[in-house]
């Protein structure tokens, strides 16, 4: 038992909590003291406090990681999130797999950003860091794991809790020092490279939103109502880029790993980051407006505050267990709901108090915003973004609403919309349309002084271009859906307008091109989204005509297809053939046919039944034991289009202990089109065991015969002296027949065994191959005639039900995302230069 490291970790947690409170207090004093020498003393206190805090946070991370990487399974965190098989990079993702670890990740980023802020923004240090330290104190309290004596109230859930304290297993009563041999492992679904980089990116995005919020509160607090925007804006830009990137990484992971057929499912957990991001983007727009024309200050404040409050709200949604049945992948309830609510309300209260007290003093512009001004259009854009978020926020909050009603003794049976995808798309489409049009038009207003004539002049080329391209695409794709067609037009319009603007900006001032580039990215994203969902086509339409119930046949539009192994099917222009089940060796590249291996009690270990070749290279010899990814089965499916464009997809089924059986798609990426296929139903166990009555046939050695329409031959008979690891008693004789059966694509070998006892009954060990639907038993041998009796049983050949879809131009979405990020990058570079100049003048 390694007690020390856990105690050390827990000590670090307590230090980080206490230090955060002390830091907040010191910085608070430093902000509110007018005496300069006292102020600088408090500042030093605060700074030292924050350094201690940051060191402690680093200490927690190091100790927790040491526990995981040294496999100290006496600790609950290591036991329930990792195992000895995991390679290092997945051990790292184990770190934030649990709820405690993800809080820790969040704190870690705050600590880093806090240190950066202390270094770069001396003027704002005291008030900004007060907010920072308060947030850190709340986060540290989430992993505190301290029980207040007397009232038995538990604060936080510690990642350093011992397994025996977390799991009340009887073994700990008998043997308190019991340490399990191995952990339960990381959810195999998360053993994916995106899960190594997606959570840190997302949490960095979360953490970054705290910076503009802190600056805003600081501005209200020390009555620098407008000055806070300049230092806050670059941070908002970074936050927008990182959070957006994190969200799309999650989308890409879902696209590759989950089987709902897309990258976005409007799951509450996804919505919980989507909404703050939209508002964050809106706040960036109002902040830029303010920096340029001095309008929209109050709006900027409200939006910046809203972003952070929404981040806190989404933390509450995903971690309090309130979503319960509404989401597949929210965290389990650690009993922190109360604490999370206090966290949320505390900062809501601070924000409300500061804004109401100072509201009257916040400067406003007297002049009315004109319709032809750029401020007006940007403000409209920001409003649309906020409403877009609001529309998602309301239905996502239905479970919260139900809880709320129940808390007051009522009852509410409101359920989230039945079909999330259709429901949200229906509304979001029109918001996206507005965003597309506005980011085209708005940009012209931004760069030029507008009146009717100039506007028409500017808009003429982009409108004509987008109209032409839309008409061409709509007619080529033959999808005449009004909504999608309009969205396509809007996306193209944004794209062309901003291309035009980019062209003129690049000639005059390239450093200002960030906005145009970012909006080009948005245009492409809209086009990509529209293509991949609007023009997605189910390839696996069921054309068998077999129905379960005649009365419903009208409504039945089944999109799944039953495939038997080695039986080609043609549909929607594709020749599809199911080639059978495969497993993946752990230490070799490639896939191995399940018919070629024998399983062992350990699901990760198998034995080769024959020499196994991959790409012509022999990788395992007959009888060799090797390791596989035991939880995964791949279903090899061959696609071709009239003999051309051959490709193989291997959608996966994973028996996942935490989540049940999970189907993951396999995707064939091409420039213009992704083909996406996943298993929708594997062969059932009942169907696998549904053997027909045994028929006996008498055959001769080395002479061909037919079984179930396949040509077969008994190649040899061998006497066995051991079966597997079992030695055979001398009172028994074991004979193994080697029978070659010519399948559609390759030869299969059956090796049934007959055991004859001299003074007791023997037995038969049949051999089966599911790809052929055949089970052969050796019933008897007749040495006198060189013949033998075989027992033949048949069933349906192995099958699988799949769903396949064409997703055109998904790549446009990913390319658009990258361009959007580039736009953020350019804008950021510009703001950073500005900041450096100001710093050189001593004004930051």
């Amino acid at each position: 038992m390694h007690y020390f490291i856990g105690h050390l970790g827990h000590l670090f947690v307590i230090i980080s909590f206490v230090a955060a409170i002390a830091t907040a207090f010191s910085y608070f004093k430093a902000t509110n003291t007018s005496d300069l020498s006292l102020k600088s003393q408090w500042l030093i206190n605060g700074r030292v406090g924050f350094y201690i805090h940051a060191t402690a946070v680093l200490g927690i991370c190091v100790t927790l990681f040491a526990i995981i990487s040294n496999h100290y399974f006496e600790y609950h965190y290591a036991y329930s999130h990792s195992d000895k098989k995991l390679p290092t990079y997945y051990l790292i993702s184990t770190f934030w797999n649990g709820q405690e670890g993800s809080f820790l990740l969040w704190m870690f980023w705050h600590a880093i950003i806090g240190i950066v802020l202390i270094y770069v923004n001396k003027f704002w240090e005291a008030p900004v860091m007060t907010v920072f330290a308060l947030v850190q104190a709340f986060l540290a309290s989430m992993i505190l794991g301290v029980v207040i004596p007397g009232i038995e109230f538990k604060i936080g859930s510690s990642p350093f809790i011992l397994l025996r304290d977390a799991l009340p297993d009887p073994i700990f009563k008998i043997q308190p020092d019991f340490i399990p041999e191995d952990g339960t492992g990381l959810n195999p679904l998360l053993q994916n490279y995106w899960m190594v980089i997606h959570p840190p990116t997302l949490f960095l995005g979360f953490a970054l939103t705290l910076v503009p919020f802190s600056f805003c509160i600081a501005g209200l607090w020390i009555k620098k109502y407008s000055e806070w925007i300049r230092p806050a804006l670059p941070w908002s830009l970074v936050a927008g880029a990182i959070l957006g990137l994190g969200i799309l990484m999650g989308g890409y992971w879902a696209y590759e790993t989950l089987n709902f057929g897309g990258y976005w499912n409007w799951d509450p957990v996804e919505n919980a980051v989507y909404v703050p991001w939209l508002v964050l983007i809106a706040s960036i727009h109002t902040m830029i407006t303010y920096r340029n024309s001095g309008t929209a200050l109050k709006a900027s404040m409200i939006l910046v505050i809203m972003v952070f409050v929404l981040i806190l709200y989404s933390t509450f949604l995903t971690r309090s267990g309130v979503l319960g049945d509404a989401s597949v992948h929210s965290f389990t309830d650690l009993g922190l709901s109360g604490q999370l609510l206090i966290y949320l309300f505390f900062f809501v209260l601070i924000a409300i108090v500061f804004t109401t007290i100072r509201w009257k003093q916040i400067p406003i512009t007297e002049k009315e915003t004109a319709v032809w001004s750029r401020e007006f259009w940007i403000f409209i854009g920001a409003t649309v973004l906020c409403l877009m978020g609001f529309q998602v926020l309301i239905p996502t909050s239905i479970p919260v609403w139900n809880r709320f009603i129940e808390a007051f003794g009522g009852s509410s049976n409101l359920a989230p919309p039945a079909d999330q995808l259709t429901y949200y798309s229906k509304f979001q489409l029109w918001f996206a349309l507005a965003v597309g049009l506005l980011s085209g038009v708005g940009q012209f207003f931004w760069w030029k002084k507008m009146d009717r004539k100039v506007l028409l002049n500017e808009l003429f080329v982009p409108i004509i271009a987008s109209l032409l391209v839309s008409v061409v695409i709509i007619n080529v794709a033959k999808t005449y859906n009004i909504g999608y067609s309009l969205l396509l037009f809007a996306g193209l319009f944004t794209f062309f307008s901003n291309l035009k603007i980019l062209y003129s900006v690049l000639r005059t001032s390239p450093s200002l091109s960030g906005g145009a580039v970012a909006h080009i990215g948005i245009g492409l994203m809209l086009i990509g989204i529209m293509f991949s969902s609007g023009y997605s086509r189910v390839v696996s339409l069921n054309n068998t005509g077999m129905l379960i119930s005649k009365q419903l046949s009208e409504e039945f539009n089944r999109e799944n297809l039953l495939l038997f192994v080695n039986e080609p099917r043609t549909m929607a222009g594709y020749d599809i053939e199911y080639a059978g089940e495969r497993v993946e060796p752990r230490n070799k590249k490639g896939y191995v046919d399940k018919n070629d291996i024998e399983t062992t009690p350990d699901k990760h270990m198998v034995i080769a039944r024959r020499d196994i070749y991959i790409d012509g290279e022999k990788i395992f010899i007959k009888g060799e034991k090797f390791e596989i990814f035991g939880e995964n089965t791949f279903y090899e499916i061959l696609f071709s289009q009239g003999g051309k464009h051959r490709f193989t997809l291997r959608p996966r089924l994973q028996v996942n202990e935490q989540m049940g059986t999970v189907a993951s798609p396999d995707i064939s990426h091409a420039i213009g089109l992704d083909l996406y296929a996943h298993v929708s139903a594997p062969m059932t166990e009942e169907a696998r065991e549904d053997w027909k009555e045994r028929e006996e046939v008498r055959v001769k050695r080395a002479k061909e015969f037919y079984v179930n329409d396949y040509v077969a031959v008994v190649e040899k008979l061998t006497r066995l002296y051991q079966i597997g690891d079992e030695k055979i008693d001398s009172t028994f004789v074991a004979i193994q027949a080697s029978i070659k059966v010519q399948g559609e694509r390759k030869d299969y070998y059956f090796q049934p065994i007959l055991i004859l006892g001299t003074n007791s009954r023997g037995g038969i060990v049949p051999d089966e191959i599911g790809d052929l639907g055949l089970k052969i038993s050796l019933m008897n041998v007749h040495p006198e005639s060189d013949g033998l009796t075989l027992g033949i049983q048949t069933r349906q050949k192995n099958w699988v039900v799949i769903k396949a879809m064409e997703k055109p131009f998904v790549n446009v979405l990913w390319i658009g995302t990258l361009i959007l990020m580039a736009g953020f990058g350019i804008a950021l570079t510009r703001r950073f230069r500005e900041f450096s100049k100001m710093k050189a003048k001593g004004q930051e």
């Binding site: 799991l167 041999e181 239905p395 409101l414 068998t544 049940g660 059986t661």
Partner: protein, 136 residues
């Protein structure tokens, strides 16, 4: 009235519109009897019914009829009021369906059968506390 006031009114109207549409499109948790009544009254919206699969004395699920081509199936579900109902699902059987302890079907009545568009499962492994695989 200033333009900004008109603007605020429009935004508020849009927000209220969103809330009302949410309330209108939101589904609800009901029993089979209520769902049947709703269908009879001509309300065709999709609803959620919570229940479990019908099991025999030994705890085996009964009443499953797979479609001939394995891409659809029907089953018997018992809701919280102990009402039995045949449910048809237009998709292959979800993985782990048979070992689910609670089923939520989302869909509506078509005649006397309930047609599910979506099935949510609650499986024991996901909700029960894990057991220690002590291996001794």
């Amino acid at each position: 009235m200033k333009k900004s006031h008109i603007f605020i009114i429009i935004v508020i109207a849009a927000a209220i519109g969103v809330i009302i549409s949410t309330a209108g499109d939101a589904s609800s948790y009901v029993t089979f009897d209520e769902a049947h009544k709703m269908a009879a009254d001509g309300k065709s919206q999709s609803i959620h019914v919570v229940g479990e699969l019908k099991k025999d004395g030994q705890g085996h699920v009964v009443g499953i009829i797979p479609g001939a081509d394995q891409v659809s199936f029907s089953f018997i579900m018992i809701d919280d009021n102990k009402t039995e109902q045949v449910v048809i699902y237009n998709e292959p059987m979800p993985q782990d369906f048979m070992r689910s302890e609670k089923v939520v079907v989302i869909g509506g009545y078509s005649g006397d059968t309930f047609v599910a568009n979506k099935i949510l499962l609650k499986c024991p492994s996901k909700y029960q506390d894990q057991k220690l695989n002590a291996g001794i």
